[in-house]
């Protein structure tokens, strides 16, 4: 039976840990050995909405495994612009490729693609719903920095209301043991109640705070997010909150050595460039881990685990 990766909710803890282990094995392989793992295989990256970073990460992952990549980077460049249905696009492209990574502004598209296609589907983001490869690379990054995910103290900062990355990460962290999450956001961008309620019956905890400075002293990880202008129906509201949490190098002076700052990128103003040179900056390594995790996932879905 073919495999897909559609939603972090489809994965149990055991499978998440298996993917983290697989990514570590892939990372440890010499580059020349990796480059021979998927000769002749083709990844189609179907991006119905722009996302340079995720698309390039998938493409880099496939190229470094010795495979090749076809695809498009926005709906205007696809047959959708001519009126083709999403279903027909998937049915056609599956004839051209061995695995598909799909991003689409509508929720549920990756699941639909998986139902239609006879080849594996990777969800590269479906509307406001899921972005499971981002979640897995975030977990991989945590485990690389700390050797564990259990028991970490993680401050989530910025747009907790609309951030698909944050929602998926929270849901995944609930599966681990004793993760303490501190929520720091403007009132209008708080984490949805259904997510905080989901902690009931788990060993995870949520608490709200307004102070980024306090979080820097008392956390293992500060996970920053961009306030997403495109999510605001009223730009006046966006202007009120856009720069409410900005991390600068001088604020990290009293932070514990272990503290890592993560960000799914792209950043705008929420992390000052002077943070990059501090030992706390973890976001570029996080981006690198994205390629490794996506390599692991492509290999797993194509039944080509090393």
């Amino acid at each position: 039976m073919k495999k897909d990766l559609i939603s972090i909710d489809d994965l149990g803890l055991e499978q998440i840990l298996d993917y983290l282990d697989l990514a570590a094995r892939v990372e440890a392989l010499p580059a020349e050995k990796k480059a021979g793992l998927l000769p002749g295989k083709i990844l189609a990256t179907l991006f119905f909405e722009p996302s340079t970073r995720t698309r390039l990460s998938f493409e880099s992952a496939m190229c470094r495994l010795g495979g090749r990549v076809i695809g498009f980077s926005e709906a205007a460049n696809s047959s959708t612009a001519k009126g083709e249905s999403f279903s027909d696009t998937i049915r056609t492209v599956e004839q051209y490729a061995d695995v598909i990574a799909v991003r689409h502004p509508k929720e549920g598209t990756a699941r639909l693609a998986a139902e239609i296609a006879g080849i594996p589907i990777l969800n590269a983001g479906d509307g406001a719903n899921q972005h499971p490869t981002q979640t897995l690379l975030d977990l991989y990054t945590l485990r690389k920095f700390f050797g564990r995910v259990d028991g970490l103290k993680i401050a989530l900062v910025g747009d907790l209301k609309y951030s698909r990355t944050i929602h998926s990460l929270c849901r995944a962290l609930l599966a681990f043991d004793g993760v303490a999450m501190t929520l720091i956001s403007p009132e209008s961008l708080r984490l949805p109640g259904y997510l905080t309620k989901a902690a009931a019956g788990t060993t995870a905890t949520f608490r709200e705070s307004e102070s980024l400075v306090d979080a820097l002293r008392d956390s293992d990880v500060v996970y920053m997010t961009r306030i997403q202008k495109e999510r605001f129906p009223d730009l006046v509201e966006y202007e009120k909150v856009k720069d409410c949490y900005r991390l600068e190098a001088k604020m990290l002076a009293g932070a514990p050595a272990r503290l890592k700052v993560l960000h799914p990128l792209p950043r705008v103003n929420e992390i000052s460039p002077d943070v990059d040179a501090t030992p706390h900056a973890g976001y570029f390594e996080q981006a690198r881990n994205g390629v490794i995790m996506r390599q692991a996932l492509i290999l797993d879905l194509l039944d080509a685990r090393p």
Binding site: F86, S87, P105, K106, E107, G108, L112, G127, N129, Y194
Partner: protein, 158 residues
């Protein structure tokens, strides 16, 4: 049954009684029956707001038909779960079934999320899975949006 009830909604020789409809839902249930071409020739009687020991008030529908379409039964589970279907032969109840909320609604309703792909591509069959046994909340099998039974009942497909 009181003489007044007999006058309002007489016994049928054969067919079905949809009983224990929550008062107020009789007309929406009638609308479901009206959608089924298989029941186009059926004689249908609607009774509203009867006194009921168990429910306080209830609605009731009697259909003189040979069979109830499967899709009608599925839609009843969505619009008015808990109703009792009684099959009647020779004026007697010969079978009684209570319609329960199922674990899965298969292509009965549209997703409440306007940005769900199933609303963009209406030929796609929807499915809504119950969150957990006993829950009245369901999760879209595509966009994963959670909605209530009542919300789904407001988004019935044809």
């Amino acid at each position: 049954m009181t003489p007044q009830n007999i006058l309002l909604i007489p016994k049928i020789e054969r067919g079905f009684v949809i009983d224990h409809i929550v008062a107020g839902l009789g007309i929406p249930v009638m609308a479901l029956i009206g959608r089924r071409p298989e029941l186009g020739d059926a004689v249908v009687t609607l009774g509203l707001n009867y006194k009921s020991t168990r429910m306080g008030r209830k609605d009731m529908i009697k259909l003189q038909a040979d069979a109830l379409p499967e899709r009608l039964l599925q839609m009843l589970a969505l619009v008015s779960p808990g109703v009792t279907i009684k099959r009647i032969a020779n004026f007697e109840v010969v079978e009684k079934v209570v319609i329960q909320v199922p674990e899965l609604f298969d292509n009965l309703a549209r997703c409440i999320n306007p940005n769900c792909i199933t609303n963009g591509e209406p030929h796609v069959a929807t499915r809504f899975k119950r969150l957990e046994s006993g829950s009245k909340h369901f999760k879209c099998g595509h966009c994963e949006r959670v909605c209530s039974l009542a919300e789904l009942a407001g988004h019935l497909k044809a």
